[in-house]
Amino acid sequence: MIEYLSSREFLILFAKMITIFGGMMTALAYTTLLERRLMAFVQMRPGPNRVGPFGLLQPLADGLKFLFKEQVVPTSANVLLYYAAPVISLVPALLSFSVIPFGPDLRVADVSVGLLLIFAITSLGVYGIVLGGWASNSKYPMMGAMRSSAQMLSYELSLTLSVVGVLMIANTLSLSSLVQGQQGTWFGFLPKWNIFLQPIGFFVYVFSGVAETNRLPFDLAESEQELVAGWHTEYSGMKFAMFFLAEYANMVTVSALATIMFLGGWNGPAFGPWWLQMALPTFWFLLKIGVFLFFYILVRATIPRVRYDQLMYFGWKVLLPIALANILVTSFLVAIL
């Protein structure tokens, strides 16, 4: 045990863990700033720009504020589950970063069933929402939790089915093999990304991904006009911040999976001296994730919320049949070609 902990192999692994965890936590904090500034830009107002140059220290100020807020617990709440719920939703959300390959070597673990592992881990995150809503013992959180669990179960189906086409083409469940399979170009200019082979799967994935992360236009779980703030109405301070971080971590995970499966992961032009060659794959990967995050925020800023019955109708009667038909056609084509 001691030998292993002091071995070179473990130290490298440890350094990677620290890099990825620290980097992602900082990135999540700045995604909140990006969201607020970009939303403000769309709505033609300045947004938070007072703390530091261009508001760049705003996430730090927010964090301090969250830490020093009074800890309020509703009197009739189930205290154990009330405290556990934010942790239950944040831990799975952060855990999925452990198998995401940020570059050819920048990943903590390369699991042979990496994609399924991420689906398994993120499927546990729903307990945080459900238990948080139930433990608050208050009507709005309860209704938010109910909506949210029904919504996440429904859209998990089309989310999982939408990637089956890609898996049939790539013939692997390992995330790094998925990326390696998309290296190179067709006809010398078109990158060999799965989005060109699986456009329908991609769209189903993006729609279900937005719904899975409880974002507008599918944020029925916390629709402010009806449910105050949904399942986290009774949460304040750091506990609220943990729910908040979990939502952003899930956004990043969904975007990272979309990048890995459909947009070629870390593949991109590599040029320049050796240090640039080392850094570029990670840069391309983060850039592609950034595009998705911009998309998420712009969708939130422009599209109104759907009604609850429309949400269920869309998930079960539109997305699910499309995903199934996509699997059928793809397996047919894979068998022929």
Binding site: V111, S112, L116, L117, A120, S123, V126, M146, S149, L153
Partner: protein, 162 residues
């Protein structure tokens, strides 16, 4: 390292299993069951059966138990303080059944030969998929048919007028 992890997961699994039984509140019982399922997945990983481990979490912890918790919360069941008397005869029936189970477990463990080592890569998705569609094709298809029938039955029950 493997032994330490095995002990950790085994201890969590046994502790959670006991907790499922002794908790008065049904929600705590089902939450312990989720912990138990996750710990068992950890044991599967130690046995190189990654695919099984992940599917175990996705299907049981991630889907079926969510529905359990969902229904428990929807009905808002009270904790089981006063319902204990109703189940007295069940407790009495449990003693011989438990002894019988213990006997069977001990007998099986007594007679067990050291299991042949699983072939390399037996736990991967490829190996499981290949054996499902060759050696176990008929049971696999029959199970799918059964699940399909259950699905249609659920729709028929849920719809008031077809």
């Amino acid at each position: 390292m493997i032994e330490l992890l095995f002990l950790l997961f085994a201890a969590v699994a046994v502790g959670a299993a006991i907790n499922v039984l002794v908790q008065k509140h049904v929600l705590y019982s089902s939450l312990s069951l989720i912990v138990l399922l996750t710990a068992i997945s950890g044991l599967f990983v130690l046995m190189q059966a990654e695919f099984l481990a992940v599917i175990n979490v996705i299907v049981y912890a991630g889907a079926i138990m969510v529905l359990f918790v969902f229904v428990i919360m929807l009905l808002n069941l009270p904790s089981d303080e006063d319902g204990a008397d109703r189940l007295r005869w069940l407790k009495l029936a449990g003693i011989p059944m438990g002894l019988f189970l213990l006997f069977m477990v001990v007998r099986t463990l007594w007679n067990v030969q050291s299991a042949p080592a699983a072939p390399e890569l037996a736990g991967t998705a490829q190996a499981i998929g290949a054996s499902l569609f060759t050696d176990y094709l008929l049971p696999f298809e029959l199970t799918s048919l059964l699940i399909l029938i259950a699905l249609m039955g659920a729709v028929v029950f849920a719809k008031k007028d077809l």
